[in-house]
Amino acid sequence: MTGLVTVLGSGAMTNTINGILDGDCMLVIGSNTTETHPIIGLRMLEAVKKGSKLIVADPRRIKLCDSSEYWMQQRPGTDGPLINALCHVIIRDGLEDKQYIEERAENFESFKDSVADCTPEWAEKITGVPAAVIEDVARTFAQAERAGIYYTMGITQHTSGTNNVYCLANLAVITGNLGKPGAGLNPLRGQNNVQGASDMGCLPTFFPGYQRCDDQAARDKFAKIWDCSVSDKPGLMATEFGDAIHDGKLAGLWVMGENPMVSDPNSSHVKKAFEQLECLVVQDIFLTETAEIADVVLPAASFAEKDGTFVNTERKVQRVRRAIAPPGDARDDLSIINMVSNRILGNRDGDYHGISDPVFHTVPPFASEIFSEITECWVAMAGMSYERLETESLAWPCPDKDHPGTPILHEERFPRGKAWLSAISWDGPAENPDDEYPFVLTTGRVLYQYHTGTMTRRSEVLENSAPAAYLEMNALDAERLRLADNEMVSASSRRGTIELAVRISDRITEGLVFIPFHYKEASANLLTNDALDPHCKIPEAKVCAIKITKLETV
């Protein structure tokens, strides 16, 4: 998100999901879309049937490759050079959209200089993608009337994550693919409400609506709405919590609906830090690994047990409606926040004692009231209301109540005016394979599981379909290690060791292995690297070096 905000002034998918069907070309990079976003993947396959050209860039031969025109099998962590080489070819051959660049972009000349040396041959050496393929892909992409870029964590979960996003933005801008249907720069959000959580300012440097905490005007605005003073000091990023706890700066933490002990890279480090907290509060629907070490566990509600909204990956604000009551004494999360606020901040009036709702036990203010407050805080949602959401599908920005919402961003201009073309050099991943740790590990998801599996692993059909972790490996590597399919191995990095079965596959190249990160019994994130991107502090979960040894059966 940091990347997109810098270049374009806004960090979200620029186009719509169903707009995929209007495009002529798709570049899918670092996204195993059919497994992680199945319905978006389905639209891509439908678009291919309608004649749109699909280009996939992924170290693994993911399912989309079966329908693609081109597959670029870049080495993990080399996305930047690959994209720069595409830009190089486009500019070299004069295929860039000159008028668009003239009208909508700045810093083109210095950008042009920066990719002058990024020839396909140079990129081939780094990425492993044949120069000829890079040439073809560049032309196909540039010559398409409407070309969309789709990416996920495969692009961002790197120490160079932010830079990778800059590179993709450059590609979209120089080909004039922002601000029209069927095109755009489209990060596909991995979780139901990443967009909403970001929009609402659950970010250490932004208030709701990306209004900066270091901006006096923004502070004044929120001080007025909330009737209190607000701090200008930037908060800690989640990835900095661990060190802050070690340093004694952070003593109390409230975790709502997250399981960082499994989802975060180098998770044993996270555990050590959390155990040092004076008070760890975890609010969740299951006793997650993180909840197990908490001091207070608050039983929360599933999506089916609460009212509210989720903002989807295309910025559409959509209603979530309560269908059933939470089990036992569990409460919906908003009521829990309200109860805690009332208790700690001393507003007993709204305390739950006075509430006579024997089935749902909700505590005000309710979701609809909160939503009204949100619309006061942020102009992009100012025109929305629960009444409108009953019948309309509204993507922000939607500044007034007659506004139809904005399915496609940047049609006229970018929020920062013109798009900034940034010169990006490439540093490579933080950790490369060596003699001791000869394999590159990349992580990801499978269709049947989701995130740390707290939900999917308790849903029979899904768990039975993908019940155990595995390590996907090329047949040649397996032969070298004398491993048979399904044989148990131990996989270790400098940070940890896990044991799991080998799955021999022709979808992965030599030297590279893949482990899905859903499984706590063989948690891939015990191995991954918590080295951070310097800009947005995202950890490099997608590349690290590991070694693999056969487990001797007793």
């Binding site: 199945p38 319905i39 389905l42 959000r189 409400n193 990443v194 909403g196 959580a197 609402m200 300012g201 970010l203 709701p208 929120f222 909330w226 209190c228 607000v230 908060g235 800690l236 989640a238 919590f241 109390g252 933490l253 409230w254 709502m256 609906g257 997250e258 975060d264 004076e278 008070c279 629907i285 006793l287 197990e292 908490a294 001091d295 207070v296 566990v297 039983p299 089916a304 509210g308 909204t309 989720f310 990956t313 295309e314 309560r322 004494d329 569990a330 409460r331 309200n338 606020s341 208790r343 700690i344 089935v359 939503f371 407050e373 269709l447 939900m455 308790r458 849903s459 029979e460 899904l462």
Partner: protein, 831 residues
Amino acid sequence: MSTVTLTIDGNEIFAESGLTILEVAKRAEITIPTLCYVKDKPTDNPCEICVVEVEGEDELMRSCVTLVRDGMQVQSESERVIVHRQDRLAIISETHFGDCKAPCNLTCPGQINVQGYIAHVAKGEYEEALRLVMERNPMPFSVGRVCPRFCETRCRRLLIDEPVSINHLKRFVADWCMRHEIDLKIPKDKPTGKRIAVIGGGPAGLTAAWFLTRKGHEVTIFEAAPKLGGALRYGFPDYKIPREIVDYEVNAILRMGINIRLSQRWGKDFTLQDLKDTGFDATFIAIGATVDIPFDVPCTDKENVYTASNFLRMINEGRKLDLGLKAAVIGGNNIAMEVARTLVREGVEQVTIVYPRSRLEMPANQRNVKEAETEGVQFLLMASPSGLCAVPDDNNRLKLDLIRMKLGEPDKKGKRAILPIPGSTNSLSVDTVVSSLGQMAVNGMMTGGELETQLKLKPGGMFSANPRSAETSVDGVFAGGDAATGTKSVIQAVVSARRAANNINAYVMSCEKDPVDNRFNFTRGKSFDDVSLKNFDGIGVTLREKMPTRPPEVSTQDYDEVKLGFTEKMAKREAERCLKCGCTAFERCDLKRLDIDLKVNINKTGMGKEPLYPIDTSHRAITVDPNKCIFCGRCERACAYDALEVKAHSMDEMERPVGLVIDFKENCVSCGKCVENCSTGALNKNNRIVPIQAEDVREVRTTCPYCGTGCQMILKVKGQTLMEITADPEVGPNFGDLCVKGRFGHNFIQHPDRLKTPLIRREKGMPLEPVKWDEALDFMGQAFSKILGERGPDALAGLSSARCTTEENYAFQKFFRAGIGTNNVDHCARY
């Protein structure tokens, strides 16, 4: 785009040209039925249900492929069209093989969703199981102990080994929820302002009060006794339904918010007119049948002679009676069995039941007869009491004169008369006689006031009430339960009262009654003889679980419960024996719906008689029953991945498939869209375990909680239980598509691992312990306040979630920024 004008059934319609009649009709909200239509995907094997008559065309036209033309005149419901549809449906239905509803469900007087709750038990979802039972029966504890189990007599498992022990499972879930203090969270409607009086706090009165309260009415129960429960408390002895169980059940019902007036006897303490005058909008009479039919034999001595209800009431009230060592019980009904077993517990050494017919003819449930026998009760059959006049000839207090009986000619109904055998008199010396010859509601006339005298009674001493509407001869006064039907089982009282409540609601609200269930039913065989044994190929023998029971020599020493109830493991094992006869596509089956709509009588036109194909469970998420397939091909054409193949080896003379093959290809991603497009139950989701029948299914539109696509979905909810997730083809971004997680990934919601109570760790190193909210909030509040006070706001931080709602995220960061005063708030997936 050009437009055309046409008429459908006389309605003038303007439509885009290039559309089919079916599409145009749909947009004009005229429903043309079809079984095979998938938009933009025509079929080679049309169902021909969608035919219409077009002016000027000799043949009927298929509306799904006929394009509209200007000036076209279409008849979509002419007789010729209807007859053709009926013919087609009859042909299609003839090979459809399966059960709509399971036999247990059809046989249960309460029409309880038996298969559904058993399925929940098998999955360990006991709370959900109990909610499903309570949807139609608020007395699972009592019924689970004393039900005659009509359902079990029809259980098809009998054809393999033994019926499923259905009733023990009901009792298990009720007891389990009681033991685990489960709050079932059964909601009630908004207050209506209507007041309803219920006379009698037994099973019928409590049931009616429960359902009427749920409808939002204010209900008051008037009970003559000092405690509620009626027959449950004063009729059934403790060893059958322990007192604390009755208390729990009654309290669970009262928690719904019901007023009670105890020790108020109708006719003495108040009249119907009084109720009317105090503002009750309707009255429900549910006083049960508690007046014993007198023991009408010549008799000199009334001492030590009791009638059954009175006797049981006295014992249940704790009265100590001098009963002697030998007793006779006159009668063969259920109450007689309980009387006999009670006498055994009261220390009577020899208890004899005297009955004028054979044992099998006893009106008592044979199970009860057997239980009495096990406890040492003796039976003197084919004998009738003729008097109690004779003076005892030994140490006993009474001499019961008897005459032996024989069977005579059968009457019109086939029941054989009993005739005394002349000269066969003999006698039985006893100390106590209890007669159990049946009960009535009122002996003689109902007294009290004017309205009471207007209440018509039936000859047997019951209130005359319409069995469907429960209306009596007095406006606004309804009657149900034993008081109207005569002595029946608890479940029958519950059903009668539930039906009455539905009518009372319609009466006070001046609205329509809930519709009655349609009796239309495909069946694998009505009677056991009709059921092909091929249905059970591959199912091995697993005998039913044996109910843990205290041995008679111990159990007859006290009034503690004889049957101890299933353990959890036994319940699960027993539930797994269920054959799942009923169709879980019940509510979405288009074939059934159209057969009903078009009045096709499948009992005449025919249905499948035996299974031709095995049921295929090899797919991870979908069960395939080709016996139900009608070869409409919707599944195949709806699949966005082209991952499903439906083939037939050949076609029969009626163009129906022979040698059907339904195959999922390797590229199937288990999204389940085919199931939602199946026109019958040939394709079914494995995790759709409960057949959704009749009432109370809510559809809630919401957003999928998995990835960021934000698919819109529909949650099908029954009570507080999520049954299924589907999608609306008209609503984006997914337009009817969902992935395997969206359609199948929701069992976690009712998973037993869910956190149900706050936990705190009082000190580091100690375990987490469950506490009430109050304590958890105080604990957290104190810890956070201490840190805030000692170290300032930046020593606290919040980690929010991309899984939570926008509103929750807003409130969370506001708590930290505005409440605590720090910007230390982040979420895990912000990149």
